[in-house]
């Protein structure tokens, strides 16, 4: 296996390891089907090996991920770019324990998410992973405080603990004063801050963000990026799917996912 380290990512170093996949994957006829990328760190938070994800769409077999090998270290800020339909969201869902691969290994720490039970996946989502969505995905009938509290629901914390964690998370995103506001009473940037607070209140190991600034103007985008960078500086691993090169440029490491295959940029 050819190995591309984080320190020496070049287009030339990415080689095709799986020619056999080319004919099966209509999206990878001209691109390498499998890209192997490893970080040099000894204990990666994520370790993906030969991850394939296929699904049926209109009686057609679609290979969203075509044998991805990938390692992501604790504390990294990684962005994943690529064209629409390139498999970015599918990869993010694998990392977030929302989906299982058709084949391959997706390890989060010592847990292989590909083989884990539904209960284990649920536990991982509840404790290890925080999600931030492009559309914020807040519950419109609940206040900012209550929305953040929803993220703590599965942890079984006491009311006092939950309250203090919510207050702390809202303060961290600068919305302590807007805790009683409904999402409809907040700007897009503020709503995304609430979503980030909901994701970090549980104190996850990794924050997964799917186009977190996609619905925001430039000013709000920068606000959110500064917030995310701040969280990353505090040690939170950050994996962001984005179309926006301005966002990608601020990452430690940039990946491109195209036709089911990933490569460093």
């Amino acid at each position: 296996m050819n190995t591309v380290t984080n320190e020496s990512v070049t287009n030339e170093s990415v080689t095709n390891e799986s020619v056999t996949n080319e004919q099966e994957n209509p999206m990878s006829m001209t691109e390498p089907a499998t890209t192997s990328i490893e970080s040099s760190a000894p204990s990666p938070i994520y370790a993906l090996q030969a991850v394939i994800r296929e699904y049926q769409q209109k009686n057609r077999n679609v290979r969203a991920l075509a044998g991805v090998d990938l390692e992501i270290r604790e504390g990294e800020f990684v962005t994943i770019q690529g064209p629409t339909g390139g498999g970015k969201s599918t990869l993010l869902q694998m990392l977030g324990a929302l989906d299982r691969p058709t084949s391959g290994v997706v390890k989060l720490g010592e847990v292989d998410l590909a083989k884990a039970s539904n209960a284990t996946l649920g536990h991982v989502r509840a404790t290890e992973v925080g999600f931030v969505f492009q559309g914020f995905n807040l519950i419109p009938t609940l206040t900012a405080h209550e929305n953040v509290d929803m993220g703590l629901e599965p942890l079984g914390l006491s009311g006092t603990d939950r309250h203090s964690r919510v207050a702390e998370a809202l303060a961290q995103v600068g919305l302590a004063e807007r805790a009683d506001h409904l999402p409809g009473e907040l700007s897009g940037g503020q709503q995304q801050r609430v979503a980030i607070a909901r994701a970090i209140a549980k104190r996850p190991r990794v924050l997964l963000a799917d186009e977190p600034t996609g619905n925001l103007d430039e000013h709000m985008r920068d606000e959110i990026l500064e917030l995310l960078e701040g969280l990353n500086r505090d040690g939170l691993t950050l994996i962001v799917v984005t179309h926006d090169s301005a966002v990608a440029r601020r990452a430690h490491r940039r990946l491109r996912l195209e036709k089911g295959s990933v490569r460093e940029i």
Binding site: S89, G122, R125, A126, T141, E146, M150, G151, P154
Partner: protein, 483 residues
């Protein structure tokens, strides 16, 4: 957080919550009202039957219907000396006590033979009769005999109109001959003495009577008065009324059985034997036994008797049983279908929300619990509204207290309260007991429990469908579905 989320969601989807709750409320209110009315009609039927057959009567035995020409049908005959003549007008009055038209009778020994059967706790005989009084005025017949019409050339004279005409009245009332020593079973078991006294064992053979209180009021009869029964002066010793305030008693006048037989010229016969079984599960066996041992008799059980209650009471019963029940079921089904559809549609609309909740770690069970909880609360809101509306409906029904006429036919006695007028009761109400019964809709704990049960069940059914839908939701697909 569970309740906060639940409350906010229901408040945030007011239209859906209101539609589901109102749908269930209408269904529950209908079920409550229909059930209460049904119980009211059953009570009314029981009242109607009790007034005819008394309390505790399990079976009645009646003779086969008489052939035309048999039974009853006595003639009024006046000889030349009958009546009193004053000013050219002769006044005549005659009473006859007759068996009901077409009413068959049983030998009086039937009472003893039925009482001696296994499974029979008590038996009592009664003779159902009608007293008809023919009274009128006609021209002096002695004048008419002196010269026929046209012979003297004089126009007819005399009579109530002074021109030779006549005027007659027919007055009737129902009479029931009963064994004064045995009133535990039969019509007098469901009456109470409102004035004077009841018939007692010592009254056998005596010309004494007790009179239905409402009949007495209508005809201005008091205790101590005498009434003409079959041409004999009978002393009124008491007034009786039904223990049910809404029904009359079985007959207008009650006299000792032997006196009734004597006055009617029907020795040693009864028209009905009232039978009480030793236990409810003996009734069928006793019925079969009597049918075997008493040839030609008709043996009727309470259910047979219930079928004889006709008129608007029967119509009400039929309406409630058929239309009411089916309408309740239909509305309940529609309400449940609405609740299920709205819940499923709500889950579909909230795909992104539930996908997000699963993405942030909510278990399937927690999401299903949320959906089911919302549905159950919607059901309970509907149940509370339905209960309030249903109870209000019952309150209105009881406030209006609709009167329903009932007629117990076939095996019963002549109608009380129908006498007094020409051709009333004894003919028109032949072998029937007509009474107006006030319809009450009782509120029972069972009805309230059923309403709450339906509300919870409705919510659970809708929640089960919605929860099943939510549980099947893959978080990845749910999030993918929103782009």
């Amino acid at each position: 957080m569970y309740w906060t989320y639940l409350r906010r969601e229901l408040a945030g989807r007011k239209k859906q919550t209101i539609i589901v709750a109102v749908g269930l409320a209408v269904a529950i209110a209908l079920v409550i009202v229909v059930n209460a009315l049904s119980a009211g009609v059953r009570d009314a039927q029981a009242q109607a039957l009790e007034s005819v057959y008394g309390v505790g009567t399990d079976l009645t035995v009646t003779g086969a219907a008489a052939e035309p020409g048999e039974g009853g049908g006595q003639r009024f005959e006046f000889d030349s000396e009958a009546g009193e003549t004053t000013d050219g007008t002769t006044s005549v009055s005659q009473s006859r006590l007759t068996a009901d038209f077409m009413r068959g009778t049983l030998d009086a020994s039937t009472v003893e033979s039925v009482a001696s059967l296994d499974g029979v706790a008590a038996a009592s005989g009664a003779l159902s009769l009608t007293n008809i009084t023919f009274s009128g005025e006609m021209p002096d017949r002695s004048q008419m005999q002196q010269g026929g019409p046209g012979e003297s050339g004089e126009p007819p004279a005399g009579g109530p109109d002074g021109a030779g005409g006549s005027a007659f009245d027919l007055d009737s009332f129902t009479v029931l001959g009963i064994d004064p020593d045995d009133t535990a079973v039969g019509p007098l078991s469901a009456v109470e003495v409102s004035e004077g006294r009841a018939l007692a064992a010592g009254d056998a053979g005596e010309l004494v009577a007790v009179v239905d209180a409402s009949y007495a009021t209508t005809n201005e009869i008091s205790v101590g008065d005498t009434i003409d029964v079959g041409g004999s002066e009978v002393e009124v010793v008491g007034l009786i009324a039904s223990t049910s305030s809404d029904a009359d008693t079985a007959a207008n006048v009650y006299i000792p059985l032997d006196v009734a037989q004597s006055l009617a010229g029907l020795d040693d016969v009864v028209s009905t034997v009232y039978v009480q079984a030793t236990s409810a599960n003996q009734i069928d066996a006793v019925q079969a036994e009597i049918e075997d041992s008493v040839a030609g008799a008709t043996v009727s059980s309470q259910s047979d008797l219930a079928s004889t209650v006709s008129s608007s009471l029967a119509s009400a019963s039929s309406l409630i049983t058929n239309l009411g029940t089916w309408l309740s079921i239909l509305v309940l089904a529609v309400a449940l279908a609405l609740a299920v559809l709205f819940t499923i549609s709500g889950v579909t609309r909230r795909t992104r929300e539930f996908g997000t909740l699963k993405a942030i770690g909510w278990s399937n069970g927690r999401v299903v619990g949320q959906v089911a909880g919302e549905s159950v609360i919607q059901g309970l809101i509907g149940g509370a509204i339905g209960l309030a509306v249903g109870l209000a409906g019952i309150w209105i029904i009881n406030l209006i207290s609709p009167t329903i006429s009932s007629t117990a036919a076939s095996t019963g006695q002549a109608g009380p309260g129908q006498g007094g007028g020409p051709m009333g009761g004894g003919f028109g109400g032949m072998a029937q007991q007509a009474a107006d019964v006030v319809l009450h809709a009782p509120i029972t704990l069972w009805v309230v429990a059923a309403a709450v049960g339906i509300a919870i069940a409705g919510g659970l059914i809708a929640g089960a469908f919605g929860g099943w839908r939510a549980a099947r939701l893959s978080p990845a697909e749910a999030l993918r579905s929103v782009g």
